[in-house]
Symmetry: C2
Subunit: 209 residues, 2 copies
Amino acid sequence: MESSSTRSGGSTRREATRQKLYEAAVTLIAEQGFSATTVDEIAERAGVAKGTVYYNFASKSVLFEELLRHGVGLLTASLQEAAESTARAGGSKVDALDAMVRAGLVFIDRYPAFTQLYVAELWRTNRAWQSTLMVVRQEAVAVVEGVLREGVAAGEFSEEIDVQLTAAALVGMVLVAALDWKSFQPERSLDDVHAALSRLLQGRVSGRA
Amino acid sequence: MESSSTRSGGSTRREATRQKLYEAAVTLIAEQGFSATTVDEIAERAGVAKGTVYYNFASKSVLFEELLRHGVGLLTASLQEAAESTARAGGSKVDALDAMVRAGLVFIDRYPAFTQLYVAELWRTNRAWQSTLMVVRQEAVAVVEGVLREGVAAGEFSEEIDVQLTAAALVGMVLVAALDWKSFQPERSLDDVHAALSRLLQGRVSGRA
DNA sequence: GTATTTGAACTGACTGGTCAGTGCAAAAAT
DNA sequence: ATTTTTGCACTGACCAGTCAGTTCAAATAC
């Protein structure tokens, strides 16, 4: 057992199949929800036999959990990269937040179905993958919280801001604005949406008025 | 305690049963999602036989749709009241927004399960109750957009703000911050959370930089 | 006042269908 | 030669929706 000796993280045939299954599952589950989506549907959409699903994943919910981890991993990496490259360029913390807002928008633009599905599951309780979801959420929000804390430490943000709540509010701002964009005004450009959110961000959050 | 009146309009008993079913359904669906929640569970939680569910509602999804309408009706009324009473008291538009943020928090505080369920379903596609959801969303968001437009017209807000997107972002800010509050720091007071969000709101959004 | 009727509200066993997951032999890919 | 995929039949649990029968309080009759 264990992974085949063919490289680690390389693109095995198996990996390609798993990728197809992720893509099929993410759109179907985003549209219909986890329970309403059948394994047969996922297999069909991925162009694969049902047995293959079970050869690659232990169960339907394991497939879903790994999908969650995979997707949020991409987002977290993207946010981190945005924050770090801003820092490297000597930008302020507001610049970092702004870059992260943009990174968030780019992510949602590229993976709207994943975002949809993530939002739909995040605040549920008593579900099998609850703990996976929590861990994965914390990873992403922590990046935002980190920038806020550094900003407070550097005197760029007021000491009175509530880091945790403010981070959540910022994430929510981007999330809901972006989902609305995709759902109701999909023709607008990313730059356009980014500009509107920047306006909300700038001036505020930073040291008092 | 007068209670079982023979009111001709509609039987009181029936209304009470429907209310119990709403309450049972809202928590179960918030926790598990629509498809994962069975009619048997709803009936059991409501302390009622399964047949009663079908006596009162044409189907599981009709029950859900009416629940959505009922809930968002409460929210919209609450937002409207907040905006209007601020106006009556001669407050500014920022004050109105602030009052609506508080009204939103009060609502989520009182009906966390409904909020959860609403967020989980809002951006799905291809679902039976899609149109109900859209109508109902528009009613609520329109209240916020209205205040923003009035603020722009009165010169209190910059003419450059994007009303639709900004409204969505504000709603998202409150929504996500509140869900995080309820999920991860439920011991905090509403005033506390409101203060943190006010900080984000004030100074910004309002005229120029 | 007591007996009888009415019908809306409610009950819960039952049905027909669906779906996650299994098992396995043969084929294909590497 | 081994790993991966296929195709398909099968099972057992679960579940939305149905329906014949029951309850009970108000309305009417006696």
